[in-house]
């Protein structure tokens, strides 16, 4: 089970609201490579993972992604606070506002609501770990793109922190792939699927 900690993983303190920027950053909430997709991906992949080191990585990275989901929501909340009707219309935030007011709703920047289609859970160690490594790189690119589109230091600071975490997670999944391969038959990694076939690999539990 989970319990909530009443603190952000890294502080978010944004002086100037900017609803137009919020509509871009919201992709890291409910977009294809966002934090909601990341947490759902890892926290559901872990059940089929036969190696305890990788189950641990999936559990703990998946949990950290929930903390990142909260940081993105905090950024969106602060970027859309104290708006008047004119600011809403002029910034183009009106298309979001009409459906959600200033509530936080997980969608991509294009407006498409969050979809589990963004998440791959194949029940195969090699497929799932490669999905995870790619997902971290794609999220890193999204943060790079966000950094191209804003010069507000209050926004850039937590975004840079989140970008760095993608790289660390990528490294841990690379470690996970190496650990998985150490358990498998190096002459044919595809001989069987240790997440499904009993006794597959060298030391499957």
């Amino acid at each position: 089970m989970w319990s909530y900690e009443k603190k952000l993983q890294y502080p978010v303190k944004i002086k100037n609201p900017n609803p137009k920027l919020a509509q871009i950053i919201i992709s890291q909430l409910g977009g294809p490579d966002g934090e909601l997709a990341a947490s759902m991906r890892y926290l559901h992949q872990r059940y089929a993972m036969p190696y305890k080191e990788i189950t641990g990585i999936l559990t703990d990275v998946g949990t950290e992604e929930l903390a990142h989901l909260e940081m993105i929501a905090a950024i969106l909340y602060q970027l859309t606070r104290n708006l008047n009707e004119e600011q809403i219309k002029d910034s183009g935030f009106d298309t979001y506002f009409v459906d959600h007011t200033a509530g936080i709703y997980p969608i991509a920047a294009s407006g498409v609501p969050f979809d589990m289609k963004y998440v791959g859970i194949k029940g195969d160690i090699l497929a799932d770990l490669h999905e995870d490594m790619a997902a971290e790189q794609k999220a890193r690119v999204t943060y790079d793109n966000i950094l191209r589109l804003t010069d507000d230091p209050d926004v850039r600071d937590p975004i840079k922190y989140l970008r760095e975490r993608e790289i660390v997670h990528y490294q841990r999944f690379c470690d996970g792939l190496r650990i998985a391969q150490d358990h498998m038959d190096s002459r044919n990694f595809y001989a069987c699927n240790p997440a499904f076939d009993r006794g597959c690999g060298k030391t499957c539990k």
């Binding site: 089970m1 872990r46 059940y47 305890k52 080191e53 189950t55 641990g56 559990t59 703990d60």
Partner: protein, 86 residues
Amino acid sequence: MENNQAKQMLSKLQMLDFSIYETVLYLDAYPHDSEALAYYHKLLDERKVLLAEYERTVGPVTICGNVSEDRWDWIGRPWPWEYDAN
């Protein structure tokens, strides 16, 4: 630690944590209820003792509960969704 003893302790911890959760939900709605607040503190005292014993003899419940200084036990025991863990 006997597996049976570990499971009994886990069961006690689950019951205690459920009581705490129920009390927390109630206190969220009625934050000025002093009787509920006292009950919350009584449960917390019990939890502190039980959790310390559980993490010392069975294993960590959270990432901050790895008591051993020379071994990483967090990934060592069965995961909670496994048949053998329940």
